[in-house]
């Protein structure tokens, strides 16, 4: 490994170093503000180092990691989202009793895992990244250990994630057994070899899809989602919804597009079924919920279904559409959970619909931001979600996948209902006395304002972002 390899790895190294710095700082003196600031600064430094790394990519760093424009783009996205989550965590945990420095270490470890995941080009790094992410998430989900729901969610996630990791590992072993390689690029060439003995490949792929599907929370691997979303603290939920799923999708894209495995007929069929089932199940089950976090959980299942439609369309537009959609989804989800976080109180999260009744008349700015986020999830113009949905439908149309996009359209119309239900509540006459309200504070206000501006900016002038994505994707997938 030479100097340039280290430069390319700089963002990952900085995140790793930050974990240690925060740990040492906590050993010296426990201070919530200091830990949060160190974590934030570390992530910011890693984000800034992307500029340096961009000068030396694309380059494979060891056989395990491939750092290219694509990887760096997703690393940037993950780091930015993690910074937002750090701020939300600070606001949220500042209100709770006790010490909260460890959440930042866990968060940094999970972020490190995610960045490894999106840069990986080999089964070994894939698994390493995934486990770093998962193990840290167990701790984060069950972090408020005095609360029963939180513990339940943590255990649930632990059991299912461990099982799915086992599936993934077995699947990788079978693929390795059949093809004799763990490198994504080489899998592609071996799959096309005429003397391929394929009977182990398909079961292997099926097991791997199970593992991926769990992390993405697509139907039928979605059962943990609502419980974990509800049980985890709002900022942690935001993290699971964005970073964890986004990193997994980035990996999925790289793995399948560079190995060409998604073109195998059975794999394609499986993804079709998963996409359609996710769109239906997510949107219809969300109708039955009364808890905002659970509604958002089911809505995220549906959104992953939409992205899978673009994933299957592939072609020219597919990867760009997915990446754009993920960016829009990150901004929107962080914004929505951001509002939930700042409204939450120490005894419980603001996740009941009543908590939002008449919010507009009490706190117009927060309600307006929440409305914008919900409308973006519903795909209404002037928001990033609209361009994202437009892009996904365009990708589907360019591949003449009429049936999936019509299902997308119909299910997203069903989905409107539950978004509007929350919006209606926001503007209903207020019942809550003003005194019980929580304060947003400067950091929260800044973060939410930035997210709202991004939401509208990407929704009205998506041009620069699209250009950036296209540039990042050139030659990568």
């Amino acid at each position: 490994m030479g100097g340039n390899d280290f430069t390319a790895l700089l963002p990952l190294l900085i995140v790793a170093a930050t974990v240690i710095v925060v740990m040492l700082a906590v050993a010296v003196h426990r201070s919530h503000a200091v830990s949060a600031s160190l974590a934030f600064l570390g992530l910011a430094a890693a984000f800034a180092s992307l500029r340096l790394a961009a000068l030396v990519v694309p380059r494979p760093v060891t056989p395990l990691l491939m750092l290219d424009g694509y990887g760096l783009f997703y690393i940037g996205l993950i780091l930015a989202a993690s910074m937002v989550v750090v701020v939300l965590c600070f606001i949220y945990f500042e209100r709770c009793e006790g010490d909260h420095d460890e959440i930042y270490m866990l968060l940094l470890v999970a972020t490190l895992g995610s960045t490894v995941l999106v840069a990986s080009s080999h089964f070994v790094s894939l698994f390493l990244g995934l486990e770093l992410l998962s193990v840290a998430l167990y701790g984060m989900i069950a972090y408020r250990r005095s609360q029963a729901l939180s513990l339940e969610a943590g255990i649930k996630y632990l059991v299912l994630a461990a099982a799915s990791a086992a599936f993934l590992l077995f699947g990788m072993a079978l693929v390795y057994g059949a093809l004799g390689t763990m490198q994504f690029g080489e899998i592609a060439s071996r799959l096309r070899a005429p003397d391929l003995d394929g009977w182990l490949v398909l079961p292997g792929m099926a097991l791997m899809v199970t593992g991926f599907g769990f992390k993405l929370a697509v139907v039928p691997f979605h059962l943990w989602t609502p419980d974990v979303y509800e049980g985890a603290s709002a900022p942690v939920t935001a993290y699971i919804a964005t970073v964890s799923k986004g990193a997994m999708f980035a990996l999925l894209l790289r793995y399948f597009y560079s190995s060409g495995a998604h073109e195998l007929a059975p794999v394609f069929l499986v993804f079709s079924i998963v996409a359609v089932a996710s769109m239906f199940a997510g949107n219809i089950l969300a109708l039955l919920q009364n808890n905002v976090k659970r509604i958002l959980a089911y809505s995220s299942i549906a959104h992953l279904g939409y992205i899978l439609v673009a994933f299957q369309a592939a072609g020219d537009l597919g990867p760009t559409a997915i990446t754009f959609y993920l960016v829009a989804y990150f901004v929107t989800t962080l914004g929505a959970f951001g509002v939930v976080s700042v409204l939450s109180r120490s005894e419980r999260d603001a996740d009941r619909l009543e908590d939002y009744q008449g919010l507009f008349w009490r706190r117009p700015a927060l309600a307006a931001i929440f409305t914008a986020m919900l409308l973006s999830l519903a795909g209404i113009p002037v928001t990033a979600g609209f361009i994202g949905k437009f892009y996904v439908v365009a990708a589907g149309a360019s591949a003449a996948m009429w049936a999936p996009i019509i299902i997308l359209v119909v299910t997203s119309a069903i989905g409107l209902f539950y978004y509007l239900r929350i919006v209606v509540t926001l503007y209903a006459p207020s019942r809550q006395p003003r005194a019980v309200e929580t304060r947003v504070g400067v950091p929260g206000a800044v973060v939410l304002a930035i997210l709202a501006i991004c939401l509208v900016w990407f929704g009205v002038f998506p041009g620069p972002l699209v250009a950036l994505i296209r540039q990042a994707l050139t030659g990568a997938v």
């Binding site: 008349w361 409308l375 519903a378 209404i380 113009p381 002037v382 609209f386 437009f390 439908v393 365009a394 149309a397 360019s398 009429w402 996009i405 019509i406 359209v409 119909v410 997203s412 119309a413 409107l416 209902f417 509007l420 239900r421 919006v423 209606v424 503007y427 998506p462 041009g463 699209v466 250009a467």
Partner: protein
């Protein structure tokens, strides 16, 4: 640039009104009034300057927006858009005046929504890039949704959500159709474009043309509304506040008709011709069904809402008959229906403000206590039933005349609709305003502000009824192009 102002003025004024309402609610009303007046002034100025100017688009704004996809911020105006924009701002002024006393809660936010709807509608009438059109089309829903959901009557949440889901779903079907057209155009020419002028010349296979046309048709049919897809309308119109009903009936329904005229017929002439008999049948069904339903309502506002279904049936028939007379008739019906139905909604709103009910069984004999209001209601009821000398008559008469040339059966059935209109209109007047005042209503008559609103609308209808010439002449160039494309290239 002037076209941009037509959108920016209400948009900016909406924000100003919202801010101003924090210290004075009256200021918000005046700002909204000024903005709508300015909009009307701009369109009138455009009209005067370009009167009898034969060119296709007589003003444009064309900026690159997302050039890599062929998405441009491209606004253009022709005589069809111009006439509908005049209607937009005219009804905008009246909606602001009509909500002067009705809306007392969150005045600033109300006017923000009201003005943003107008901006969205102006965008729909002006956009000649299909992406921009879709953008504006979706955008005008959101403030309308808020208008119904926040300031509506008892059942507002249900009505608002139903309205939103109906229009969104149909809008998304249109999006698929737009994208299909876009990719087919790209396959044929290698150019990615959403520009209306470029897509006009796309060569489509018969089946593709039919499917894509249906995507557009359904979206516009929901808005128009065509019977079967109309179920959102009675709810939304009834539950909306007065200004919301006026804009819904007067303008949002017209965007559906506008879409048929601007997109369905010119982009897909062959498929439109194949569809024409079905569309005419649906139109006639709408005329009769709307009239019958109106006849059987006891809620005054719901009654007026159903008359819209009936009148817009004439528009649908006119568009798909597609000859000179029918198209002129469709346009006149669009304009006059906007005014007469808008006026009826304002009157019902004024009445509800005073006696707190819309139930006709609880009215009766109101003429003695509110003679001016009742007189105005009689006038617009007569307009609605198609009394010669008033605008609605001209429109429906022309449609019937044009239809008669093409299909006598449709014309006969549609004329029966005119007869039905007499029933519901007169029944409404009799039940609500004539007879004995059994409930002993004693309420205030129209105040000067409301009187002014009525006078303006009566004047406009009389003008359109007695001297429709300038409007029809203005429409001529746009109509010629629609007709030409409708009869095949």
């Amino acid at each position: 640039m002037i076209l941009l102002w037509l959108i920016l003025v209400p948009l900016v004024a909406g924000v100003l009104a919202w801010l101003a309402a924090r210290w004075n609610a009256l200021a918000a009303r005046w700002i909204a009034l000024a903005a709508t007046l300015a909009g009307l002034g701009l369109t009138l100025w455009l009209w005067r300057v370009n009167f009898y100017n034969g060119s296709a688009w007589f003003a444009q704004v064309d900026w690159a927006w997302m050039p890599q996809f062929g998405i441009r911020f491209h606004l253009a105006i022709d005589s069809l858009s111009l006439l509908l924009l005049m209607l937009t701002f005219f009804l905008g002024i009246l909606s602001v005046l009509a909500s002067w006393n009705e809306i007392t809660q969150a005045v600033g936010f109300f006017h923000l929504n009201l003005l943003w709807i107008l901006a969205g509608i102006a965008g729909v009438f002006l956009a000649v890039n299909l992406f921009l059109f879709y953008f504006a089309w979706e955008l005008m829903l959101v403030p309308m949704y808020f208008l119904i959901a926040i300031w509506g009557h008892e059942n507002r949440v249900y009505a608002a959500i139903k309205f939103f889901i109906f229009t969104q779903l149909s809008g998304l079907l249109m999006l698929i159709a737009i994208l299909a057209l876009y990719f087919i155009h790209h396959q044929a020419t290698g150019v990615y474009t959403f520009e209306y002028q470029d897509l006009l010349n796309t060569v489509l296979s018969g089946r593709a043309e039919m499917w894509i046309m249906l995507g557009f048709f359904i979206a516009f049919a929901v808005k128009l509304p065509v019977v079967v897809l109309h179920t959102w309308l009675p709810d939304a119109h009834t539950e909306a506040p007065t200004a919301g009903s006026v804009i819904l009936a007067g303008l949002l329904l017209k965007t559906g008709a506008y879409g048929m005229l601007r997109f369905v017929v010119p982009l897909f002439p062959h498929a439109a011709r194949t569809l024409a008999p079905f569309a005419m049948a649906l139109g006639v069904a709408g005329i009769l069904y709307g009239a019958l339903m109106a006849f059987s309502q006891t809620d005054l506002k719901r009654l007026v809402a159903y008359t819209s279904v009936s009148h817009l049936g004439f528009v649908l028939v006119g568009i798909f008959v597609g000859n000179d007379l029918a198209l002129q008739g469709a346009l006149m019906t669009m304009l006059c229906h906007g005014i007469s139905t808008g006026a009826l909604f304002i009157l019902v709103g004024a009445l509800q403000d005073r006696i707190h009910t819309r139930e006709m069984n609880r009215m009766g004999g109101l003429w003695t206590t509110v003679p001016r209001l009742s007189g105005a209601a009689l006038f617009f009821a007569l307009a609605s039933l198609g009394l010669p000398g008033l605008g609605d008559f001209v429109g429906e008469f022309l449609v019937l005349l044009g239809t008669y040339r093409q299909n006598i059966g449709v014309a006969v059935l549609a004329s029966i609709g005119v007869l039905f209109a007499t029933f519901y209109a007169l029944r409404m007047v009799q039940r609500a305003f004539q007879g004995p005042n059994t409930n002993n209503w004693r309420v205030a008559d129209l105040v000067p502000r409301e009187g002014l609103v009525m006078a303006l609308m009566i004047g406009a209808l009389l003008w359109l009824g007695l001297y429709p010439r300038p409007v029809l002449d203005t429409f001529q160039p746009a109509m010629a192009r629609i007709e030409q494309s409708g009869s095949g290239r």
